[in-house]
């Protein structure tokens, strides 16, 4: 199977921004930021380009600083044709039956172009603002029950859903609106997180484990384990692609922020209790360059998901093939500015990847 490439949906107002510094978390989590407002014009422009250059889906992130992901997908889906939406949602905020009703409705509104990125929670502080007072480990236990009930609804077969758990109870559950897609009875589910609990949740209830990129060597055993468990592995990363490696590195260095932003961003990162963030920050501080093309230098400023694959189109195509060789199948990518980088990636890198995939396929067939 061909590698699948997804992209992060830009935040509100981001498509019109010129510099990476404007898109930093320090700025987009300020209450005056345009990130809190839906940006139909920018998103439509971005979505049409994504469809054109061969991006399969966009990931919509969930936080208290941004508009609701399910609602955005319902609105944006009216104006797009092929693009899928990977909707991030946290599991403690509504009854599973209500969530399934919303997801199923969304599928019917946009021809099944919806997948889910299930997140057990975020910082304790942010969770409490939503009325959720469970700790990290319990949030995973609840997410497991939550998804078990969701799957019971999606299995359907006209059977009533009955569940009696620690966090949720359902009696004679029934929803008339089914999940509607040409090829599926339930959405594809990405579970993200680096903790042991996240991996277990992905394996038990998900289709795909979503984690940060690392080197192919480090990921090889994890990818193998995931495949044995019957789930895919999808990597979050950033890409900076330029005609030459030197130009790409220069572009990366130009993205380093001013000192004040750096200080504030570190404060945000160190207050989170997420394993993912802690590991990413450690990588950035200790190594910087994780291999020839993989750089963690932007992490302290733009967050854990900004580990960046840097290089010429040929180098990047080779790098993606190396991930494919160890068993990784999907990628969710970011870049700065998002639209321009996606267009470069779609036009320059994807065709090289497809060429190499075809060559390898032909070689494998010859044995």
């Amino acid at each position: 199977m061909s590698l699948r490439f997804h992209w992060m949906l830009p935040k509100g107002g981001e498509v019109a921004m010129q510099t990476v510094q404007e898109t930093s978390r320090v700025l987009t989590t300020k209450s005056t930021s345009k990130a809190s407002l839906p940006d139909m014009e920018g998103w439509l422009k971005f979505s049409r380009c994504a469809e054109e250059v061969g991006i399969e889906s966009v990931l919509m992130s969930f936080s208290r600083y941004e508009p609701d992901t399910l609602v955005i997908a319902a609105a944006l889906g009216q104006a797009t044709k092929k693009l899928k939406f990977i909707v991030a949602y946290r599991t403690g905020f509504m009854q599973p039956a209500t969530f399934v009703q919303q997801v199923n409705t969304l599928s019917g509104l946009i021809d099944g172009r919806v997948a889910l990125n299930i997140v057990a929670g975020s910082s304790t502080e942010e969770q409490r603002g939503y009325g959720d007072f469970l700790d990290h480990d319990e949030r995973y236990a609840r997410a497991d029950e939550f998804l078990e009930i969701c799957h019971a609804f999606w299995r359907g077969n006209n059977e009533e859903v009955v569940f009696d758990g620690k966090y949720f109870k359902v009696e004679s559950g029934h929803l008339s609106t089914p999940f509607m897609a040409p090829d599926r009875k339930a959405p594809e589910i990405y579970v993200s997180g680096h903790s042991e609990q996240a991996q277990r949740l992905a394996q038990r209830r998900g289709d795909c484990w979503l984690r940060l990129i690392d080197t192919p060597e480090k990921l090889a055993p994890l990818a193998m384990r995931s495949r044995e468990q019957g789930i895919e592995l999808c990597l979050r990363l950033c890409v900076i692609c330029r005609p030459t490696r030197a130009e790409a590195i220069a572009a990366a260095r130009a993205m380093l922020p001013d000192e004040e932003t750096e200080k504030q961003e570190r404060k945000i990162l160190s207050s989170s209790d997420s394993q993912t963030l802690k590991q990413a920050l450690a990588a950035a501080d200790e190594v910087g360059w994780m291999n020839q093309n993989l750089w963690a230098g932007l992490v302290p400023f733009y967050g854990s998901s900004s580990i960046t694959l840097i290089g010429s189109p040929e180098e990047l195509a080779e790098a993606f093939l190396a991930y494919k060789t160890v068993g990784i199948t999907q990628f969710i990518i970011s870049g700065w500015p998002k639209l321009e980088e996606m267009n470069i990636f779609g036009r320059e890198v994807i065709p090289l990847v497809r060429e190499r995939e075809a060559r390898k396929f032909a070689a494998d067939c010859r044995g």
Partner: protein, 362 residues
């Protein structure tokens, strides 16, 4: 202020895009919409958009998008239809026990940002116990109202301050709640909130947390005292009814009679009504005389449920009746008709102009 007219969003597949439909067929489709195999639970953007455009032309203010386990989610349906229509408002019905208030506010604020000034909500404390349990809600009728009160208190707190929300109640706790996406409306910090129900608790909830009490139509004489009481507290009153308007009263009555049950369809609705623990259902099943006034008829109610209380008559009759409601303080109506599309077009072209002329003379 002029009377405001809203309409029910038809079920999925109910609006016929290929030629005319008889009132009987439209009503039967609606009645069968909760049965297994009905296409009604599937979102229907083409049919709804077609209906929405006619409703806009007819001078309809908003569409009520109802909530039940037999239908698609009203918040997402509103979000999508907001993109395919341009002026129309949406009143999204929601039950208060099914998600955290913070999440609810985040969803509503997001929808409002896509269509400023076009989103309202109809808060329902609950439905039948069986249906609530299917959503994981095990509270009894009265407790559901206590929870709805807390739910709306938290929502209002977000809409008022949009900042640091703290709440420590019996059903909800929120600590330093903050949402960056605000609610978008003209001259309002939050949505208009319709509270429906006939119980004392519903009325109380409307008064303390709502902007409008939504109830099934009755005669102006019966409603007079309750409407006056509610208006005095600064809360509007909106009536839910079906409408059958025809050039003459005889034609309207004939149309109504053609809709009486001829098979067992009504049986099913009756069984739903018996199981329901809502006050509205109990009252409706006790009515003896089917003509509440020369224009207000409850002939469908025993068969199809209380919201089938019907105003029927000639265009002039209907306009006059609506003005009578206006005189006692009712300000809004949510209508249904059979088929919805034909009735909204007739209502818009024949009744609304008559009402506006009469209002100008008041």
């Amino acid at each position: 202020m002029n009377l405001r007219f809203h309409w029910m969003l038809p079920k999925g597949g109910e609006v016929s895009l290929n030629g005319p439909q008889t009132p009987r067929d439209a009503a039967n489709y609606r009645l069968a919409s909760t049965r297994a195999g009905s296409p009604a639970p599937r979102p229907d953007i083409p049919g709804w958009t077609h209906f929405g455009k006619h409703a806009e032309d007819a001078g309809i203010d908003s569409l009520l998008v109802s909530f039940s386990r037999y239908e698609p989610d009203p918040i997402l349906v509103s979000a999508a239809l907001g993109q395919t229509t341009s002026k129309l408002g949406f009143i999204a019905a929601y039950r208060s026990g099914l998600m955290k208030p913070t999440t609810f506010v985040q969803q509503l604020n997001t929808v409002s940002a896509f269509m400023p000034g076009r989103l309202s909500i109809n808060i329902v404390a609950g439905s039948s116990t069986a249906e609530q349990r299917g959503y994981g809600d095990y509270l009894a009728h009265d407790e559901r109202y206590a929870r709805a009160d807390e739910f709306l208190a938290v929502c209002h707190s977000f809409w008022r301050t949009n900042g640091d929300v703290n709440f420590d109640g019996k059903y909800y706790q929120v600590e330093h709640g903050k949402l960056h996406t605000p609610f978008f409306a003209r001259e309002r910090g939050g949505p208009e909130i319709y509270i429906s129900g006939h119980s004392e608790q519903a009325e109380q909830l409307a008064r303390s947390k709502g902007t409008c009490l939504l109830r099934v139509a009755d005669t102006p004489e019966h409603l007079h005292a309750a409407v006056a009481r509610t208006r005095k507290l600064g809360i509007e009153v909106c009536l839910r009814m079906c409408v059958i308007c025809r050039p003459t009263r005889q034609e309207a009555i004939a149309a109504a009679e053609s809709l009486l049950p001829e098979d067992d369809l009504g049986q099913y609705e009756r069984s739903v009504a018996v199981k329901n623990d809502s006050q509205m259902y109990r009252e409706a099943s006790q009515v003896e005389n089917r003509w509440l006034s020369p224009l207000l008829w409850t002939g469908f109610v025993p068969h199809y449920g209380p919201v089938w209380t019907t105003l029927l008559g000639s265009f002039d009759d209907i306009a006059r009746a609506l003005i009578e409601y206006k005189k006692i303080g009712v300000t809004q109506f949510i209508m249904s008709g059979w088929p919805e599309l034909d009735e909204v077009v007739t209502f818009g072209s024949e009744v609304v102009p008559r009402v506006r002329r009469a209002e100008a003379r008041l």
